[in-house]
Symmetry: C2
Subunit: 148 residues, 2 copies
């Protein structure tokens, strides 16, 4: 690992009040130094090449830690919940980032998406899916209650 990379990571951890460990360095790097959107299992396999004794649970735990700290993100809020929709009309969804509740929102509440350039060649566009993320009424209420 380059020394600058090492120091960057060290400072990131300091800034977020996280202890610096070998495992964390490698886990973070396995994600941040490559362009893809990896699964915990893929990250585990990658890190294992350097740290053969690492455990998959450690990967899971630290990914959560990093996400909570804002050092990494998850691609989608929906990975853990298969949810079925009977509404076949084009519409949007309002999703709560706390409780992950989902509400329909009429299509014409948003102006249609406009492409300003070209998509990567070969990609056959089917549709734009817009998700409006935020905190739902119930969660806002319960959080303000907690903080008073």
């Amino acid at each position: 690992m380059r020394r600058e990379t090492y120091n960057e990571f060290r400072h990131l951890c300091r800034a977020h009040n996280l202890a610096v460990t070998h495992q964390r360095q490698r886990i973070f790097e396995a994600v941040a130094s490559r362009p893809g959107h990896y699964s915990p299992e893929e990250i585990y396999e990658q890190v294992k090449q350097d740290l053969p004794s690492i455990s998959l649970a450690t990967v899971y735990k630290n990914l959560k830690t990093f996400i909570e700290a804002g050092m990494l993100r998850e691609v989608s809020l929906h990975h853990g919940a298969w949810r079925i929709d009977a509404n076949l009309h084009p519409h949007h969804h309002l999703v709560c980032t706390r409780c992950r509740s989902i509400l329909d929102l009429d299509q014409d509440l948003l102006a249609p998406v406009k492409l300003r350039g070209k998509l990567p060649s070969g990609f056959k566009l089917e549709k734009f899916s817009i998700e409006i993320q935020g905190v739902c009424k119930a969660c806002v209420a319960s959080e303000s209650r907690t903080h008073n």
Copy 2:
């Protein structure tokens, strides 16, 4: 169940080449007659009130069948796959509906989303997340190969 509802479902099944069974009727109704975005488990619990001997596997299998037929949809393409993103800059994703691969897309390839009306009261907006769904180059290629 109302007779019209029963006939509607019967015709839907005909149109999609699906056998009509009690289980399917109740599973479909459990989703389509209520406004929410339910999980298989929730649907199972609902149907069980009418058909106590139904199996959870039947619910899963038929939800898949309905989705494949286009009678229901899934809220997100990402369930079951926790994917980590190290790109913290605002950006969009290109998602393949076949292989579910994910590519980053620069933010300014799309014009910013415009709200035309009001969000439901109490919802605290955090961000708009746009996903561009379609078929990726690789899947387009493999599908055209299959059909020649």
